[in-house]
Symmetry: D2
Subunit: 333 residues, 4 copies
Amino acid sequence: MRFFSDNAASVHPRLLEALVEANVQDTAYDGDGLTARLNGAFSDLFETEVEALWVATGTAANSLALAAMCQPHQGVICHKEAHIEQDEAGAPGFFTGGAKLMLLDGPGAKLSPETVEAHCAAIRDDVHQVQPAVVSITNASEYGMVYRPDEVAELSAVCKARGLGLHMDGARFANAVGTLGCAPADLTWKAGVDALSFGFVKNGGMSAEALIFFDRELAADTHYRRKRAGHLQSKGRYLAAQILAMLDHDLWLDNARAANAGAQIIANAARDRLLYPVEANEVFIKLSADEAAKLRGLGFDFYDWGEGQARLVTSWNQSADDIRPLADAINAL
Amino acid sequence: MRFFSDNAASVHPRLLEALVEANVQDTAYDGDGLTARLNGAFSDLFETEVEALWVATGTAANSLALAAMCQPHQGVICHKEAHIEQDEAGAPGFFTGGAKLMLLDGPGAKLSPETVEAHCAAIRDDVHQVQPAVVSITNASEYGMVYRPDEVAELSAVCKARGLGLHMDGARFANAVGTLGCAPADLTWKAGVDALSFGFVKNGGMSAEALIFFDRELAADTHYRRKRAGHLQSKGRYLAAQILAMLDHDLWLDNARAANAGAQIIANAARDRLLYPVEANEVFIKLSADEAAKLRGLGFDFYDWGEGQARLVTSWNQSADDIRPLADAINAL
Amino acid sequence: MRFFSDNAASVHPRLLEALVEANVQDTAYDGDGLTARLNGAFSDLFETEVEALWVATGTAANSLALAAMCQPHQGVICHKEAHIEQDEAGAPGFFTGGAKLMLLDGPGAKLSPETVEAHCAAIRDDVHQVQPAVVSITNASEYGMVYRPDEVAELSAVCKARGLGLHMDGARFANAVGTLGCAPADLTWKAGVDALSFGFVKNGGMSAEALIFFDRELAADTHYRRKRAGHLQSKGRYLAAQILAMLDHDLWLDNARAANAGAQIIANAARDRLLYPVEANEVFIKLSADEAAKLRGLGFDFYDWGEGQARLVTSWNQSADDIRPLADAINAL
Amino acid sequence: MRFFSDNAASVHPRLLEALVEANVQDTAYDGDGLTARLNGAFSDLFETEVEALWVATGTAANSLALAAMCQPHQGVICHKEAHIEQDEAGAPGFFTGGAKLMLLDGPGAKLSPETVEAHCAAIRDDVHQVQPAVVSITNASEYGMVYRPDEVAELSAVCKARGLGLHMDGARFANAVGTLGCAPADLTWKAGVDALSFGFVKNGGMSAEALIFFDRELAADTHYRRKRAGHLQSKGRYLAAQILAMLDHDLWLDNARAANAGAQIIANAARDRLLYPVEANEVFIKLSADEAAKLRGLGFDFYDWGEGQARLVTSWNQSADDIRPLADAINAL
C-alpha cells in the first residue's frame, strides 16, 4: 500500500463515467455546454457570483492567479515551504514575468499576520526594492495544517491595509473544508480571499483543477493568459465534465473526508511521533531510518522527509481497512 | 452535421477505454509505467531514437519546442498565416521570453526555401536586428496542404546553411502522413526536422499531444520548462495512456485517413470552388453568402473564411455516408 | 565629411559645460536638484503638467513607454519599418514581457488611420488572437517625413475609438517641430499622444533622452521598470544636466533647425533623386553604385539603403559651408 | 560633509576632461575608436584576454552577467543582503527571464563555501525544484568586507564541482583591490571568476561601468542582450572615454585607496562601535538615536542602518582633513 502521494491514487470512477457521457460533438475550447455550467456551479457552491476557469494543473492555476494580481516588478509573499516556492520549478516567475517570491517563515508552513506585516514594514518604499502585491497561502498547508476562517480574515486585514491581494492555493482545499466543516464561502471570499486554486486532481480527479476568481475583474485578462500559456485545451469540455462530476452531490467533499479520516487513523497510531497536528490528509512523523526500513519491509511506501522524518499521505480511495495495517505497524514499532 | 473543426469531434472510444485501463495507482507526474513506454513507442514509429514528452495542447508543444531552439533575443521564421502567429495568443513570445516571429508569405500557408533564404539574407548581421534561430513549418499547413519530404529537406538545407533549427507543427501531421503515404521518418528527421509537435487531439484524441525531439539534446531543458509552464500533469499517465492507444495498431493513421477521405468527397463535389488543393482534412472553397446561407439552412455548419470563402473540416468519425449529403448539397448549389 | 548618422556627431559644447557645472556632490539616483527641475521644465515646454524621466537611450525610452501601455499578452501596432521593429534588437518584446509588434505598411514609414483601423477590424475578438493595446508612430519618421498635428489627431481618434494608447517615438521630434513650426503641445497631447520619447542624443546630446508622459498615471510603474531595467543611473543628475542644457534657450530647436537646413541644401541639389519628401534631417536618394563610389571617392560617407539608394543624414553641427561640397558633388554627378 | 553614499560624490575631473577630448565625430554605438581600446586595456590590467562591455549602471552589468550564465528556469545563489537581491528592483529576474535568486546567510554579507554547498545539496535533482546555475558574490561586500583570493578560490571550487558559474559584483572591486594589494587577476579569473561587474561610478566615475568576461564565450550573446535592454548607447564612446580615463595611470586604484583611507580614519575613531571589520570604504557602527542626532547636528549626514546602527561611506574626493572632524565628533560622543 502506497502512501507516497495523493497524486498517485486512481481517478474516481464517476469522473470516467462523466468523460464517456461528455463524449459527443460540441464546440471547441471553452465554448461548450459543460464549460458554460461552471460559473453557475461554483457560484452556487460559494454563495456568490464567481468566475471559474478550468486548467490542467495546480501549478497553472496558482501561477495564473498570481499573474493576475502581481506585476512583473512586484512580489508575492509566501511561506518558504510553499508549494509555489518549493515545487513549481519557478512557474510563478514565468507566468508573472519575473516577480519575486518573498519567503517568510512560520510553523506548519503557515503565515501569520504578524510576519506578513513585519515583512512589509521592512521594505523601503522606493524603486530600489521590490514591492509586494499579493500574499499567497496554502490551505490546507504543505504540512497538512489548516487556516481557519478567522485566521484567513486576519491575514486579509493586513493585505487590505497594505493594498495586497490574497490568493489561496487550495490544492487540498477540499481537505481543509472537510476538516473545518465550514461553508466554502466562509473560508474564502467572506474571509477576504480574491482568488482560489481549487484542487481536484489530488482528490480523485484526473486532469482538471479550477481557478476561482471572487474578484471577477481579475478573470478578464486571465482568459488571455491561459491561452497564451497553452492551457486552453481545445476539448476543454472533458475538463469541465470532470469538475462538474466532482461538484455533483459533493463528491469532492466525500473524497476529502475519506482521505482525512484515513490520516486520522494513522495519526492516532502515531500520536507520539507527530511533527504537526493532522488536519488534512498528510501525516508527518518522526521515524528513524531503522523504523522506516521496517515499515517499507512490510510493503508500505512513503517519502522520507529529511533526517528521521517521514511523510504519509492518504487518498480518497483508501478505506479504514486499507490503512489499519499501517497504523498497526507503526504502533508495533 | 458540423464541419466547423476537428476539435469539436468526439474522442475515439479506444482512448476512453485506455483511460479506464490506466485507472490504477501509479507514480505521479511522469514517473509512471505508461509514460516510460513513450520514448520507445515513438522511437519505433520514427525508426530512430527520439525523446517524447506529453503535453495537453498543441500550443504548449509548439512553444516548448521553439523555446528549446530560440533564445529570447532571437527570432522564429514562420508563415504569416501560421497557427503560432495567428491562433496562439502570443504563446511563442511567452515561452521564449519574447522572441520575435518573423512572418513570411507564400501560397497555401507554406514556406519556400527561397523566401526563407531571402528573409535571412536581408537581416543585417549586427546587434540591432533580431537574428533568426529557427524555422517553423506546419504540416499539413493551415490551408490543408502538405509539405512532401523533399520539400522539407530543401527547407532544411537552408536552415542548416544558416545555422537554424527546424520545427514542424504537426497538429495535422497524421493527415499529412496519411495523404503522402510515406514513413513518418521520411517526413521528419530524415528530412532535417529537429522537433515535431505531433498532434492527436484533432484526430480523435482528448487531451494529449506529443512533443518529439529528434535532436534529443533539446529535450533536457524542456523537462524543466514543461514543469515551469504548469504542463507537467501530476497524473500524467492518463495522457500517456491516450497517446499509446493512438499509436496502438496505428489508430492515429486510421483516424487521419478517415478524415482525409471525407475531405476528398467534399473536394470532388466542389472541384470548381477549391481555393487550395485538398491534401488533408480541410477544404477551403469559394462560397457566396447566399450559398453559405443555403447550406446552413440544410443543417451544415462551417466557418466563413473571409469574404465569399468558407472552410470545411472533416473529422475522424465522419463516414462517407455522413459527408455525402454535404457533397450533394454543394453539387446542387 | 560624414553623413552616416546624427549619432556620429559630436556633443554640443553647452552640454559639456553643463556637466562641469553639475559636478558637485548631490543626492544619488533621481533625488538630486537637477532631476527635480525636469517635470517643471517639460511642463512649461508642453504647456501642460507632464511627468518626465531621463533615460540613456531612445530604445529604453520607447520600450518603457510601451511597457506602460501594453500587457505581455497584447500587441503594439507600428510601421514595418519602425525603429522599434527594425533596430532595437527586440527591446519592446523584452520590456513588455513578450508583447507582439503588429507591422503595417505605408509610404514613408508613416501609418495612416485607415491601415490602423483595418488592422484592428481584422483581429477576431477572442483569446486566440493577440489584441492590440497601443499604436506607436515615429515623428519624424524613419524616412524623414513628419506627421502634422492633424494627422496625429486622426490617428488618435482611431486609437481612442478602439481603446488604444498612442506613443510617439520622437528620436527626431525636434526635427519634426523644427520643420512644422508648431508648438510641441500641438504635435503631442493636444493631438492625443499619451507618451513621447523625446530624443536629444541625435540632436547634439550625449547620453540623455527624456520619456514624457502626458498621461501621468502611466509614469508611476515606469519608475520601477526603469530601475528594474538598470536604467536608473546613480548619478542621474548628469543626465538631467544635459537635458536642462538642451531645453535652455531652446538649444534643442536650434540644433534641429540647423540639421534640417543642411538636409534642405542636399535636397535642393538632389531634387530629381529624392525618394521621399525631405521634412527633417534625413535625405533618401536614388544613387547608382557608380555614383555612390564617386561620392565616396570625394570623401563623403553615407549608408547604402538597398539597391541603388542611399541615406544621407545631416547633423546639428554641420554648417551650410560644410554641406555645400556634397550638394555640389551630387549636382555634378 | 555627507557620508550618505559614494554615489553622491562628484566625478573626477580627469573624466570630464576625457569627455571633452572625446568630443569629435566618430562611429556610433560601439564601433568607435575608444570602445575598440577597451578589450586591450582590460586584458592588460587582468593579464589575460578578456572581453569588456561598457554599460551605464552596475545593475545592468550584474543582470547582463547573470543572464549570460543562467537560464530562465534556473537559479542564482547569492547572499540575502546582496545588492542584486536588496537594491536592484528585481532586475536579475527581468534580465534572466524570471530566474530565482536563492538567498543564503552569512556574516558581513559574505557567502562561505559551506553554505553554498549545503544549499546545493538540499535541492532535489528533479524538475520540480529550480536548479542553481551561478553563484554571485559581491567584493567588497555590502558590509564593506572583502573576499581574499583564496576565499574566492574556495567558493569557485564548489561552483566548479557543481557546474555553476561564478559572478563577482564589483561595484567596489577597486576598494577591495586597494585593501588587498593583490593583482586584479588574483582576485578574479585566477580564483575562478567567470564574469566581473567592474564598478567605476561609485569611485569617481559618472555613467560608465565595465562588464568583464573572463569566460569570453559568455560575451557573444551579451552584445545582443545589451542592445535589447536599451543599454547600447549610440554615443558609447563617451562611456569608453570615462573608463579609459579611469584605467589611465591607475586612477581607479588611487581613488579607491583614498576612499579606503578615509574609512580607516573613521574606523580608528569608532573602534568600539564597529559592526564589521572595515575593509573598504564603508563603516557600519553602533550609534544610538541620540548620538546620531548629535552627529547630524554637527552637519554630518549618513544612513541609519536599522535600530541603533549607522552606515558611513567615504568617497574618492574626501581628504583626511575632510574626514577628521567626523572622527573627532565620534570620539567625543
